[in-house]
Amino acid sequence: MIELRDICKVYRNKKQEFTALRNVSLTINDGEIFGIIGLSGAGKSTLVRCINYLERPDSGKVIIDGRELGSLKKKELLRLRRDIGMIFQGFNLLEQRTVLKNVCFPLEIAGAKRQDAEKKAAELLSLVGLADKAGSYPSQLSGGQKQRAAIARALASDPKYLLCDEATSALDPDTTRSILELMRRINKELGVTIVVITHEMKVIDSICDRVAVMDNSIVTEVGAVSEIFARPQSDIAKKLILPEVVTPVSGEGECVRIVFDGEDSGTPFLSGMVLSCNAAVNILHAQTKDIDGRAYGEMILQLPAEKRSAGRIKEYLNASGIRYTVTGGAGYVGDTA
């Protein structure tokens, strides 16, 4: 278990001070995939670097499996870091070593024998699907392959935790998907607890169990992904969850975002609503998927400008138990849960 208690981090330049983390507290449970999402500059990297003390917090505690990092001796800290693998946006592979030797590197640090290290490294390369590139140098690999090599390397010391700082941000959507898939497999098969830093909701959506939303050096909300996705509280969470397309709409009617969270997909919900309310809606965005006859996803509708029709639609939504938010506006209007 990773516990962060009241972490503060201030960067001091010559004259300026910048608080990158302000009283951040989080608990990351064993076995889960935990996401941290936020816009650029929110403090995500600073936070994740505090977890393995690459960055020393100015105050607060980082406690990993009951051990407070600030109280550890240097040797103990270095030893503990072997339990925490880390992968980066820029891969950070050693350019002058082959892929196999890169994966061996953490084992060399741990003092493993060469043969043992190479055997282990080869196994890990098969696990990440890179066995055929063992003898290649990083400059001969594609981005996705580099990240696979980096993942294999991060796993070499059998870590309990894996920290991923924007691990897929430099990759195209297909490659991103395959890397995320690999991360999920590592979580399931090896039982590694994974912390995923990202600014993309789709990453959180596709692999994380829980998520913390960061904005301006603080954590604004933490919870199960489905929960945050359905009921974002903070402005930043709404902004991250709502697709960009929705924001610039002509000022006519208000927009609502409705979330399907396992409703029966057999009933034609939208048509039913339009018919019984006798009011037309404009679909601005729809992203739903059907899983076993249940609808999941979200839809953004622009209601009629006319107040009464809009009111009827809201009543209808309330009555049918569909959760919705008025977007762009402040706060929640009609949460029926």
């Binding site: 880390m86 980066f88 820029g90 950070n92 592979l93 002058q96 640090i109 140098y137 400059s139």
Partner: protein, 226 residues
């Protein structure tokens, strides 16, 4: 070829000059690296954004290197002759010259090394730290190996510089092509000898340069290779 050149060649003076120049350069370079390389690494590692900042030590070393670097070699050479006498027991001849060359080249080599090692990507160092590598391991397994190509290129430049210094050392009692150019050429008004020495020096520099660059290229893994 003129009389004097043939004489120099037949008596073996010229060959000896070439040999002396080459071995003075190589031996001086070797000893300068023995001290200059660690010094450069220390300069880099202890700097304020290094992996083990020690600001006071860094300041002092930085200042020392700068002082030595700003003294013109011809003056430094004379100034350190007493030190040479202390170390090798004489202030004359090639052994004394090697001492002065080493002392003059150390700060140069240190700066070269420092700048090469500084080029190593911060992210790679961070990755090593995240794996629990201590400073010693990072230096030996990350900084130096990753800076290898740049270090080799730096070594080529250092060698050529030391070669240049060694020619100057010929004026105060060192051997080599510099000495031949001065004693047999300049002092006897024989330009031909001077030019021959120049040509030979150019050839040696070319050989060093080409071999060095070839090694640098061949050992660099960052380029796409078939």
């Amino acid at each position: 070829m003129s009389e004097i050149l043939r004489k120099l060649w037949d008596s073996g003076v010229l060959q000896l000059g070439i040999w002396e120049t080459v071995y003075m350069t190589l031996i001086s370079a070797f000893f300068s690296y023995v001290i200059g390389l660690p010094l450069g690494v220390i300069l880099c590692v202890t700097s304020k954004d290094g992996i083990h900042p020690v600001p006071v030590l860094n300041r002092i070393l930085d200042l020392l290197v700068n002082i030595f670097r700003s003294i013109p070699f011809i003056i430094l050479m004379v100034a350190v002759l007493p030190a040479a006498k202390l170390i090798v027991g004489t202030s004359l001849g090639n052994r004394a010259m090697i001492v002065t060359l080493v002392l003059a080249a150390i700060p140069y080599v240190a700066r070269m090394t420092e700048s090469s090692v500084k080029e190593v990507d911060r992210g790679v160092i961070e990755a090593a730290q995240s794996m629990g590598a201590g400073e010693g391991r990072i230096i030996m397994r990350v900084l130096i190996p990753e800076a290898k190509t740049s270090l080799i290129v730096g070594a080529v430049i250092s060698l050529v510089t030391i070669l240049g210094y060694s020619a100057m050392a010929g004026t105060i009692g060192g051997g080599g092509l510099g000495m031949i150019a001065i004693t047999y050429g300049y002092q006897r008004f024989n330009n031909e000898v001077v030019w021959i020495c120049v040509a030979l020096t150019i050839i040696i520099v070319q050989v060093i340069q080409e071999t060095g660059m070839l090694i640098a290229r061949k050992t660099d893994r960052r380029m796409r290779q078939a």
